[in-house]
Amino acid sequence: MGYISEESLDSIPLKLLEMGCLPGAEVQLVQIAPLKDPLYICVNGSHLAIRKETASKIKILKSE
């Protein structure tokens, strides 16, 4: 569980933005694939699988 940080706006690929990965949005890590990649996340109601490489471009602020 965490929030997408505002400063990662420019580094998030446009396609991910369009699919709901917006700065400030709450992200939930649903599952990690058995071989540790890709990641299965839920953000803004979208359930997405993205590769770690892509995920590393998104900065997350932890929230408890």
Partner: protein, 702 residues
């Protein structure tokens, strides 16, 4: 299509039930065509909106936004930017999933800014109560300033309302933008708008960002638009800003109209995901699914395939005995009927495979497989999405190659296309079957497992293993720079809709029959011509044979057989077979197998048919042995040994496992990659590999 017909474009995110709605609206009037210049299938159908009004509905590929990242998605942009009266849509019907309305409205907002009359159909509203969702429809219509309809396409609810809304929207012909990009940077966008007032600001903006210019744009205007492209980072930043701005507007609308009560939501997704993507059970279930598919392909299809086989054989016999003798009847009996039969026989296996894939995709399971397999496939330069083409390849490489279109990274897609033909397609099966029965003894190993079945299994493993290995080598050698970008939506689990699955199977099977079938049929006719015509020696064959054997006192049957064999030997194809004999002798083949290798270029299974022709001349005699027996007893005059002995048979099996012998596949690869380079690399690379490996196998075993 009459002039009055309303042209409707159907657009929506993937997994919104867009196809369900399309099927409900158009039913069996659907036709699949091609977009000019590109390879994506264009699905169209007609729909009676009212007693006086018809519509032509075009189903555009599913996309999350107008900004495309794959071949499929770029079609949407191209269609929408067209200002051609004949082609451009009068009304756009946007389908949205009620559960993901926010994200779905992003696409809607982009479409709205094109200022084309738009209807919004919110689908799967039957799920609202279960998910705790409520919508204020009147307010939503007002906020979005458009026609909004609540539907449940699978349950056939709200379809009439959609039709009425299309008419209403078409008559009103009003279209207002939802967002105004000028708010991002007024001066910048003012300047853009000034370039051509005939286009909306958003259209011009799309031309700049996507570098996609419709025909109505002059050269000078194009230059001006391209000048906006110079500052790439600014462009990118504005695209990001635009997306955020769109979501802000959407949020404003939804706050007033859309409510989710999470406490009422019930979700089976999480529980099913735990099982299907589990580190052990996940792969285990996938393996079971694969086994089930293979079992079905072989088991269920054998009966209809035998039926088709005998039907066409009988049809040939019937035609032969009822048509007057002559070249034309020969063409029909020996060329066209077996040619059509050779295509039809694949339908059962292909339809069963498509059935499974359609069900797996409809239920949402396929996305989980992509998720599970991505890391593994990536090691070999492919993508989680490559799994579907590789499975499809076991039926036929052609639909498999078409299924790679969803892979957005060009390198990963190309590698998948290049290696798919290594997987054991159904055309190889009859070849394997007859060769295995000739050279592998029908005994059991480990006390229970049939050795012949085991060999077949090994050949499957060989095909798949080679595909993976080839992909690995290609990944290391291909110098293509692409940003491998991978996002897969994990849709909700759903029960598959019978109608959607059947339509999908029907459409894909039809595409196979018409696409590959044409080539296979045409080649069959060409091969028939080459086999039944020849130079002088062919024409004199009958005369010469009679003279030669005049003193041997042969019966009529035997004489006929001799003549037919000499004729084939002297036909064009016989000459071709003989001329390649020196090249294939080191592999253990004679010119007769050479002929079969050449004819296999129509489709691999023609191998069996050709050998049947070569060995079965005169098979109407009841005393002659079966083709298999004849092949078994065939002796190589040079060595005095049997032709189909173990080394030659193994060498042939290996040759068929590797060689690129399918014109139809090459044609499809050319179409999908838009150059002859890749199909030629496939042709020479695979066939070269086949030659070398067969040579090694034969020389070692000899």
């Amino acid at each position: 299509m009459s002039k009055k017909d309303i042209k409707v474009a159907l657009i929506g995110n993937p997994n919104t039930g867009k196809t369900s709605l399309f099927n409900q609206l158009t039913g069996l009037t659907q036709k699949v065509g091609n977009y000019p210049g590109v390879t994506v299938d264009k699905k169209q159908g007609s729909c009676k909106l009212s007693s006086t009004q018809n519509a032509i509905i075009t189903d555009l590929p599913g996309t999350y936004s107008i900004n495309p990242t794959s071949v499929d998605e770029s079609i949407v942009l191209k269609t929408l930017l067209k200002k051609d009266i004949k082609e451009s849509p009068d009304v756009i019907l946007v389908v949205a999933d009620v559960e993901n309305l926010k994200r779905n409205l992003l696409l809607f907002s982009q479409i709205k800014d094109l200022e084309i009359p738009t209807v919004l159909a919110i689908n799967m509203v039957d799920q609202m109560a279960r998910k705790g969702i409520s919508i204020d429809l009147t307010a939503l219509k007002e906020e979005l300033n458009t026609e909004v309809v609540l539907i449940s396409a699978r349950k056939n609810q709200g379809i009439e309302a959609v039709k009425a809304a299309i008419i209403k929207c078409h008559v009103a012909a009003k279209a207002t933008p939802m967002c105004d990009n000028k708010k991002i940077d007024p001066a910048y966008f003012e300047k853009l708008k000034a370039i051509n007032p005939n286009y909306t600001l958003y259209e011009l903006w799309l031309m700049v960002t996507q570098k996609n210019f419709p025909e109505g744009i002059s050269k000078q205007e194009k230059e001006q638009l391209l000048s906006f492209n110079k500052d790439v980072s600014k462009l990118k930043r504005y695209q990001h800003k635009e997306t955020i701005y769109r979501y802000q507007e959407i949020n404003k609308v939804l706050q007033k109209t859309y409510l989710v009560d999470k406490s009422k939501a019930k979700d089976v997704r999480a529980r099913l995901d735990k099982i299907f993507t589990h580190r052990i059970f996940g792969y285990f279930i996938f393996l079971l699914v694969l086994l089930l598919i293979f079992q079905a392909i072989f088991d269920w299809s054998s009966l209809p395939m035998d039926l088709i086989d005998t039907t066409f054989a009988e049809l040939s016999d019937f035609a032969r005995s009822n048509l007057p003798t002559g070249i034309l009847s020969d063409l029909i009996v020996e060329g066209i009927i077996p040619g059509i039969g050779g295509v039809i026989i694949f339908i059962p296996q292909i339809a069963i495979l498509f059935l499974f894939i359609a069900v797996l995709e409809e239920t949402g399971y396929m996305s989980r497989v992509v998720f599970l397999m991505d890391k593994i496939m990536r090691r070999f330069g492919m993508n989680g999405k490559s799994v579907i083409p590789l499975i499809s390849g076991t039926a036929c490489a052609i639909p498999a190659i078409m299924a790679t279109r969803t892979i957005s990274s060009w390198k990963e897609r190309l590698i998948t296309i290049l290696v798919v033909p290594f997987t054991t397609c159904s055309a190889r099966l009859p070849v394997y079957a007859i060769l295995i029965s000739l050279i592998i003894p029908d005994t059991k190993i480990f006390g229970f497992y049939n050795l012949q079945a085991f060999t077949l299994l090994m050949l499957y493993a060989l095909g798949f293993g080679t595909a993976i290995l080839a992909a690995y080598i290609l990944q290391k050698t291909l110098k293509i720079k692409t940003t491998s970008f991978f996002v897969v939506e994990m849709p909700n689990y759903k029960l598959p809709s019978v109608k959607n699955v059947l339509f999908d199977v029907l459409e894909k099977t039809k595409a196979f029959v018409l696409g590959a079938g044409k080539i296979i049929l045409a080649l069959s006719v060409v091969l028939w011509f080459l086999a039944s015509n020849g130079p002088e020696s062919y024409k004199n064959a009958a005369q010469n044979t009679i003279e030669k054997v005049a003193n041997k006192n042969l019966g009529v049957e035997e004489l006929q057989q001799k003549i037919a064999a000499v004729k084939l030997e002297n036909s064009y194809i016989g000459i071709m077979g003989k001329s390649i004999e020196p090249a294939i002798r080191p592999l253990g083949y004679d010119w007769k197998i050479g002929i079969a290798l050449i004819t296999s270029f129509a489709a691999r299974e023609v191998f069996v048919g050709t050998l049947a022709t070569i060995y079965s001349v005169g098979s109407d005699d009841e005393n002659t042995t079966t083709i298999k027996e004849k092949m078994r007893s065939e002796i190589n005059p040079a060595t005095g040994k049997k032709i189909f002995n173990f080394p030659a048979g193994m060498s042939l099996l290996v040759f068929y496992a590797f060689a690129m012998q399918c014109m139809a596949t090459l044609a499809i690869v050319k179409r999908e990659t838009k150059t002859w380079k890749w199909p030629l690399i496939q042709l020479f690379g695979m066939t070269g590999l086949a030659y070398v490996c067969s040579l090694i196998v034969f020389q070692i075993l000899k």
